[in-house]
């Protein structure tokens, strides 16, 4: 039995477990990062010159698109918040359910539904050329399907504001700008920055939507460099730059995230101040937003499903064959996402439950996992190709390798969700538990798990929701023999066969609907 140093007032266990488990976790999580740097020594001097000469445009485009999307996301989220302040009663509850719902659509599905709608010969394309038009289209589509993340952050923050302050604000005749300066900006600035940064990161890391929308961003360049030219040293150089960029942005986002983090304390009261009646313009604003972000994509997908059913072309015969495999692809997607949920959530929970906190050890894997989660999937896959060399070529190793790609990507979510709750368990619980309970396992079972089960559930829900629709990892690891719904959708749509992409789209949306709603409800 372990000894506990109660005399020193620190009821933490000593022993090798925290050191060993933290070390194992850290080494594992370092693999993709080391893999990205692995080929750097092979980089030739010309490669630097090549990247300097020809990568400035993708880099500039990536950052510009990220900034444009983060501002657009803020615009949509502000529209939603602004309108919500002017809506009351039952309709408010209904709209509150639907407004974050575009989160269900992965951006690449949004892009697929919109790319067919955009007409090319518009005034903008005549004035600014097709490049400007494409940029604006990409900004519009990405922001439309990313705004719920910022909306949830802002809405949560606003719920903490004392309703009395709203009343006081409404009694004075402040102008809009004065209201912004003295009220909204001071209350919401960290949530706004955090939300914009989140949108920036999602945009810069995106692969599926930008490829559909013809944006030649850095992720696309890595894909080309890695897949088509198999130029590992140069791909390594780009992924390393990516990691450094993301590490910087990650640090900033954590810093801002902490400041805007919402803990529902006793003092926090939900926003109860609502206007006397709903403003029609506010209702119209929300309705327009929902029409653009849910109505149009849904109508488009259902229309394609209809066309699929009435299709009589020779290709239909092909797709009837493909339909048979669609069932297995759906089961595979569900299975992979489910396994990922269990492995990532379970391993992180047990790791945190049994390791000592208030030491630096668990924070090493914690930080690594978070950085990995922020990185684009394409960078992670490039990083783990290094271990591919040590695998034999059996189907089982293919599956393990495939799962490891997901694990590196999603374990960060489990850390960020479970860790704060485990840390918030009072030290008194720990002390009492150590005295009255016989083992660490019983302590975990009777104290840690009951207190953290909600966060474990939300972690699992979000991992399932996000991993079932992930695109770059299954796309790049597809040669290992595992096909996911997201890959089927992207490949079919990339070939312009939209009506054949519709059935897998419907299945994916249905599979992610329930976890998506649970995630949204838990975030509100």
């Amino acid at each position: 039995m372990k000894q506990y140093n109660l005399l020193r007032g620190r009821a933490y266990k000593f022993g090798m477990l925290p050191i060993v488990s933290s070390s194992i976790f850290s080494v594992l999580l370092l693999v993709p990062l080391i893999g990205s740097f692995w080929y750097l020594p092979a980089v030739q001097a010309e490669s630097f010159a090549y990247l300097r000469t020809y990568y400035w445009y993708p880099l500039l485009l990536t950052i510009t698109l990220g900034i444009a999307v983060s501002f657009s996301v803020l615009f949509w989220a502000s529209v939603a918040i602004f309108c919500f302040e002017r809506i009351q009663g039952g309709i408010r509850k209904i709209l509150l359910f639907f407004t974050p719902l575009p989160l269900i659509f992965p951006p690449y599905i949004g892009a697929i539904t919109y790319v067919d709608i955009f007409k090319s010969r518009t005034m903008l394309s005549v004035l600014g050329g097709s490049a400007l038009m494409e940029f604006l289209q990409a900004t519009f589509v990405l922001s439309l399907f990313l705004y719920p993340y910022t909306f949830l952050l802002l809405f949560n923050r606003m719920q903490l504001i004392n309703p009395q302050q709203y009343k006081i604000l409404s009694l004075h005749t402040f102008t809009f700008l004065e209201k912004m300066r003295i009220f909204y900006i001071p209350h919401l600035k960290y949530a706004v920055f955090s939300g914009m940064l989140l949108a920036f990161l999602y945009t810069v890391a995106d692969f599926g939507a930008v490829s559909i929308l013809r944006m030649n961003t850095l992720t696309i360049r890595i894909y080309d460099e890695f897949i088509a030219r198999f130029n590992k040293p140069e791909a390594s150089l780009v992924t390393t730059s990516f990691i450094l960029l993301f590490a910087g942005v990650f640090y900033l986002s954590r810093h801002l995230g902490r400041k805007s983090m919402v803990y529902k304390s006793n003092e926090a009261r939900p926003l109860t101040y609502t206007p006397a009646r709903s403003h029609p313009i506010a209702l119209a604003g929300i309705a327009l937003l929902l029409f653009l972000s849910i109505g149009i994509p849904l109508m488009k997908i259902l229309w394609w499903c209809f066309l699929y059913m009435v299709d009589t072309s020779p290709l239909k015969a092909v797709w009837l064959t493909a339909k048979q495999s669609l069932f297995w692809v759906s089961i595979t997607s569900f299975g992979i996402a489910g396994l990922m949920t269990l492995i990532a959530t379970g391993s992180v929970f047990f790791f945190l439950a049994f390791t000592q906190r208030k030491t630096v050890l668990p924070y090493i894997p914690y930080t690594l996992a978070l950085i990995l989660h922020t990185l684009p999937g394409i960078v992670i896959v490039f990083g783990i190709t290094i271990i591919q060399q040590f695998f034999d070529r059996t189907l089982l190793s293919g599956w393990l390798f495939f799962l490891s790609g997901y694990l590196f990507r999603y374990i960060g979510i489990a850390f960020v969700t479970i860790e704060p709750v485990i840390c918030s368990i009072s030290e008194n619980f720990t002390r009492i538990g150590k005295v009255f309970l016989r083992s660490e396992t019983s302590f975990m079972r009777t104290i840690t798990f009951p207190l953290t089960k909600t966060s474990v559930m939300s972690s699992g829900t979000y991992i399932f929701f996000d991993s079932i629709r992930d695109l770059p990892i299954p796309l790049l690891l597809m040669p290992l023999g595992v096909e996911m719904l997201s890959v089927r959708i992207w490949q079919t749509a990339s070939a312009g066969l939209y009506i054949y992409a519709a059935p897998p789209m419907v299945i994916l949306l249905l599979l992610s609907l329930v976890p998506g709603i649970i995630y949204i409800r838990s975030s509100l």
Partner: protein
């Protein structure tokens, strides 16, 4: 807590069962299952009908791993003798020749190989073409009149069409091989000038051929440089596309013709089944499926396709695909040097 346990247990059971179900490849009882692992650079839905027909006919179970032709070729080069692949299907001759040069293929023994023209198969029978594709121009007939329509791929560098042409990006295997063919047919300087012309003339490089055909049909561009079947696919969707087989006059180069082909992996475990599969691909039945579904032309002269031009009905570029493949790495360097 009870509810959480139940939910996690259900997810666990379903996930495990589905994973086991998907990875289960063994036969319950009786004689051992004959199996074949195929790395396919063709899009899965477009190869599935042929594989399904092959499975029904032979009883051989096929495990299909799809990806891009380049991706899978690179994977095979990495895996070497550790590979589990038995057969590699590519959409480009150069990649097949590259793997043959890396000593990854074993000779094809199917008798049907003799019916394939010599220029579309390996001299050592290490790979063979299965169907053919031509680098062609597509034009938007709403934007380009019959009088001014281009008749050569070199038209895309004509200042007359500045900013009005689109093509797939220079990491696409068809594009790289095409440029490689120009290097072989003419010389490096010629290919380099052509690439300079593409840049100078503002040819829009899109991520893939599908993007090109759609953009031309929408009227964003007047001309697109694609593989010919993309033109047919677009014609199905819109009535304003015309396909031009370029450089058909006597003093012109002819249209560059590439193949989709297959090779048998030397280190595979199922060489007998692999030979059977290649034999099936070269059979009349499979050739017809390729032609009807993909608009590619059959390589056997006695099999005719009704929905696209057949071999012998257009002037081909007189270039040796083996030489084209050998110069692939230099071509990539040339392209990269231009920042494309």
């Amino acid at each position: 807590m009870k509810r959480a346990r139940i939910i996690f247990t259900i997810i666990g059971i379903v996930a495990s069962l589905s994973t086991i179900a998907c990875s289960n490849t063994s036969q319950p009882s009786g004689e051992p299952q004959r199996e074949l692992v195929i790395y396919s650079g063709r899009q899965q839905p477009l190869i599935l009908p042929i594989i399904t027909a092959f499975e029904k006919k032979t009883g051989i179970k096929v495990t299909l791993k799809s990806g891009s032709s380049q991706e899978l070729a690179n994977l095979l080069l990495e895996e070497k003798e550790k590979t589990q692949a038995d057969v590699y299907i590519s959409t480009d001759a150069s990649l097949l020749e590259k793997l043959a040069q890396a000593n990854l293929f074993t000779p094809i023994t199917a008798q049907e190989l003799s019916t394939i023209p010599a220029e579309y198969k390996s001299r050592e029978s290490l790979w063979t073409g299965v169907s053919g594709r031509v680098r062609a121009l597509i034009i938007n007939t709403d934007l380009v009149s019959q009088a001014e329509k281009p008749d050569s791929i070199y038209s895309i560098v004509d200042p007359k069409w500045k900013g009005k042409v689109a093509m797939a990006n220079f990491t696409n295997e068809s594009v790289i091989t095409h440029i490689s063919a120009l290097r072989v047919l003419h010389d490096d300087q010629f290919a380099s000038n052509f690439l300079n012309g593409i840049q100078k003339n503002g040819v829009k490089v899109l991520s893939g051929h599908t993007g090109v055909r759609q953009a031309v049909a929408k009227g964003e561009f007047s001309i697109g440089l694609v593989n010919h079947y993309y033109g047919h696919l677009q014609q199905k969707e819109s009535g304003n596309i015309e396909i031009i087989y370029p450089d058909q006059r006597d003093n012109q180069d002819g249209a560059f013709t590439n193949i989709s082909g297959v090779g048998i992996i030397k280190y595979g475990n199922s060489s007998k089944e692999s030979q059977e599969f290649v034999k099936y691909l070269l059979s009349g039945e499979a050739q017809k499926i390729f032609a009807e579904l993909n608009y590619e032309f059959p390589l056997q002269a006695n099999i005719r396709s009704s929905n696209t031009k057949n071999i012998g009905e257009f002037k081909k570029m007189n270039v040796d695909l083996h030489k084209v493949a050998k110069g692939l790495d230099e071509t990539i360097q040339l392209i990269k040097g231009k920042g494309l």
